[in-house]
């Protein structure tokens, strides 16, 4: 199934855990330190460097682009490290989370509460995924190097619905052996 970020953000309920999709549109990278800074900004009443409401966040720290490339290798990093920040991010209206690996129960609950979705990209296939990024620009925290926030335009990035908006969790289902 092909879908774009805007349509999905308005209607996350159309996806079910386990489904494979191809996502297109604008997504923002943010990983460990960027999350810490964004949550800090929110907590002190400030405004994030990009509109969080209805947006998609990709847990990714790309390798540098070669001349002529939009981006270097750009696979997902482990989502669980962002768990501690995620409820706050979802409270501010982020609807789409993209990363790899399982989330803690309180994050799954928060995804359900805010009708968001968590999509899993395959880790370690970063050369393949770089082909889906058409444009990339740094928009915040440049001092963090690979941990800066990049605005990416992606086309048909392959993802698996890991936690849907009703809180169904592909990792939990798998753990239960069903």
């Amino acid at each position: 199934m092909k879908i774009n970020v805007q349509d999905l953000a308005c209607n996350t309920g159309i996806l079910k855990a386990g489904q494979q999709i191809y996502l297109s549109g604008t997504i923002f990278t943010a990983r460990d330190t960027a999350h810490a800074r964004i949550v800090n900004i929110i907590n002190s009443g400030g405004k994030s460097h990009f509109e969080l409401e209805g947006s998609a966040i990709y847990y990714c720290g790309p390798s540098p682009a070669k001349p002529g490339q939009a981006i270097g290798a750009c696979g997902p990093t482990t989502s669980a490290r962002m768990d501690v920040f995620t409820p706050k991010i979802l409270e501010k209206g982020v609807k789409i989370l993209i990363g790899k690996g399982a989330r803690k129960d309180f994050v799954v609950d928060s995804i359900k509460k805010h009708k968001a979705v968590y999509l899993a990209a395959t880790g370690g296939v970063a050369a393949l995924l770089s082909k889906t990024v058409k444009k990339a620009e740094t928009i915040a925290f440049e001092d963090l190097g690979p941990e800066a926030v990049y605005k990416l335009e992606v086309e048909d990035i392959p993802l698996i619905v890991a936690v849907d908006s009703e809180g169904n969790d592909i990792f939990k289902r798998q753990k239960l052996g069903s």
Partner: protein, 280 residues
């Protein structure tokens, strides 16, 4: 008779290793991935296909296999009759890492202080482990290792009475609890014996073995197979989404231990099992 090797030769060799290891998956790893993919269906199969396709793109277009081009780990066998001119081996390796990571567009993932977390900007310092051996050659093995898989490792000081069953239970618990986040299918390195400091290194060095190899001791070779079977029975599967292949291989390295101790360490490597060796 001493043989002299210039430090610049070491730096140049390291620079090339940084590129080669990050762009090309070793042939034994690719072989194992292809063989195991045949056992899978559904999402697990699709993930295997992505991994295999990714290796082709990375190699052909010189794009890193993974954006996490890792901590730069070097395992060096320094011949006692080899003399390095123009600098010491640690500086020579670090210079090669600076050039290799910058010129080849590899990600710099090292922070100078674990709490302050400021990026050093050049992926140094590298982890450099030197063993002195016979001969006049220098063998350098490079293993870039990503943070996700590294975070899944664990170490425990067991009591001797725990025995093999205790070791096995610990390894299985580590894999069960942590491997979904470590990019399976994995290579699992297990160190048994030695002490607190050396057992971790044993586990990590185990990851350097070719995937079709086994421990030279028959009893430990059988234990490697036993663990591999039980790990795959966990059905964690590629990327933790279920399937037959949770690990491609399990390697055990053993050392003598104190009468009171049974140290065990587990070092987890992701499916992007990158390594490359050069002999000077």
């Amino acid at each position: 008779m001493m043989r002299t090797i210039k430090s610049i030769e070491i730096s140049n060799a390291v620079e090339k290793l940084c590129a080669d290891a990050n762009y090309s998956l070793p042939s034994d790893v690719l072989e194992s991935l292809k063989k195991n993919s045949e056992k899978e269906t559904g999402i697990a199969k699709d993930i295997f296909n992505q991994i295999i396709k990714n290796a082709e793109i990375a190699e052909n277009e010189k794009i890193p296999l993974c954006q996490d081009t890792g901590t730069a780990n070097f395992f060096i066998k320094l011949g006692r009759d080899a003399q390095i001119s123009g600098g010491n081996i640690y500086d020579a390796v670090n210079k090669g890492v600076v050039a290799g990571y910058e010129k080849n567009y590899l990600r710099k993932s090292i922070v100078s202080d674990p709490l302050e977390r400021k990026n050093t900007g050049d992926n140094t310092p590298a982890n450099i482990y030197v063993d002195i051996v016979e001969g006049d050659k220098i063998e350098i093995t490079f293993m870039p290792k990503g943070g996700g898989s590294e975070n899944a490792g664990a170490l425990k000081m067991l009591e001797p009475s725990a025995g093999w069953e205790g070791v096995k239970d610990f390894v299985l618990k580590v894999v069960k609890d942590k491997s979904a986040n470590a990019c399976p299918p994995l290579v699992v390195g297990v160190g048994i014996g030695g002490d607190f400091a050396s057992v971790g290194l044993s586990a990590k060095k185990a990851l350097l073995r070719e995937l079709d190899s086994h421990n030279q001791d028959d009893s430990y070779a059988a234990k490697e197979q036993e663990l591999l079977k039980e790990i795959n029975n966990l059905k964690i599967g590629p990327m933790g989404m279920g399937g037959r292949t949770t690990a491609l291989a399990v390697f055990i390295e053993v050392k003598p231990a104190h009468i009171a101790s049974l140290p065990v360490a587990v070092s987890i490597q992701c499916h992007s099992c990158r390594r490359k060796k050069i002999v000077l």
